[in-house]
Symmetry: D2
Subunit: 120 residues, 4 copies
């Protein structure tokens, strides 16, 4: 059985901070899964997956997926950038805002993890 | 700014199949996030995170987390094994069943993704 | 600057054991780099990179690369398998033997790491 | 046999660029392996492995390892930084320079890969 080789061949790497800090970023489990799918599509060369392509792999439908994308863009974790590939202008998603937020959040997020939310 | 180095240092690798095939395994986004957290805890040396430890990082509470763990065990994706570490007997989670299922599912899942089931 | 996003997008995951145990497997740094390049090519969809393709990225030339491949095959860490892709028969490399060896070696390798071989 | 779970648990992620571009950075296979070991030690919480700790896993000895570390620092791929951990001042290695260089090199490295060096 060749399962090990099959699993080892196609892996995705993600910062552990995404798992430990997404709640501090105001994200739900579904939001994170949408981000992980965009990250996966990009690792496979598709830099701008459509809501339809994304929802093929998710429990949420295409419309709900669009809502999540809008939320992620509003929060600055996802952005749409222009990319020039062989003289063709393309739109691509960038996760730069997400990775930046995870780095900025780090100290704080770990420190407040087991504390009560601040009272007014 | 040293953010790249910070993010690169602590990464988690997972088989892309987990993202593409979890629906075929009967799992929801929350279920996958629980599995990813167990995978992360184990990569950091904690082989048997409690429902309380897991729910610290999840939107679901400790009780709901226990329910998810029970479901994962019933489906065979998660199991509890005995481990002997320096002559102390420990219980540890094993994700062996999950990885196995992803390998078995592979051909089928990819094939049927955009197709109707074959008619006789 | 968008460097973080660029680096995060294309990553390769490998078992840490490959780094910690390759000497116990009788492998040199160059041998490991050849294995890592095969692993990388496969993660990008090229399952049977030629010695020429591999040596493009290595300090060793095509002939030396063929010698390394032969050594890896003889030791059982690399094998050539038949794969049927859309009814075309292909030869592909399998790293199954390598991953298997790393698992078998584990206990022993870690134990003997800082010890002299036992004397009678 | 539980090998899959064992291998999946302890993985290291690295940018593929490190593998494809190290020659453009003037690095040898041994140099890259030293960098990978530092990266691995850091992922396990040891931010400043000694030449002795590194050479335990390498074919080169402690002295040669120190030489490689000096070369990497001179080229700016490795640096020594001050870190304050629980009020104790520590020295830690940073791979920031390496990751930066890989991002800067990207376009150029891929473009020139199969070309002759430019003639005056």
């Amino acid at each position: 059985m060749n399962g090990i080789a099959t699993l080892m061949k196609d892996q995705l790497a993600l910062p552990k901070r995404l798992l430990t800090n997404y709640r501090q970023l105001g994200l739900t489990e579904s939001d994170v899964m949408v981000l992980l799918h965009i990250h996966r599509f990009q690792s496979e060369g598709n830099d701008f997956p459509t809501p339809s392509e994304l929802s093929d792999f998710l429990s949420i439908n295409e419309y709900e997926c669009s809502q999540v994308l809008r939320k992620l863009i509003q929060k600055g974790y996802l952005s749409i950038e222009q990319s020039t590939d062989e003289q063709v202008l393309n739109e691509v998603y960038s996760l730069y805002g997400l990775w930046e937020s995870l780095v900025e959040e780090q100290g704080e997020a770990y420190r407040t993890q087991n504390e009560e939310p601040e009272q007014p």
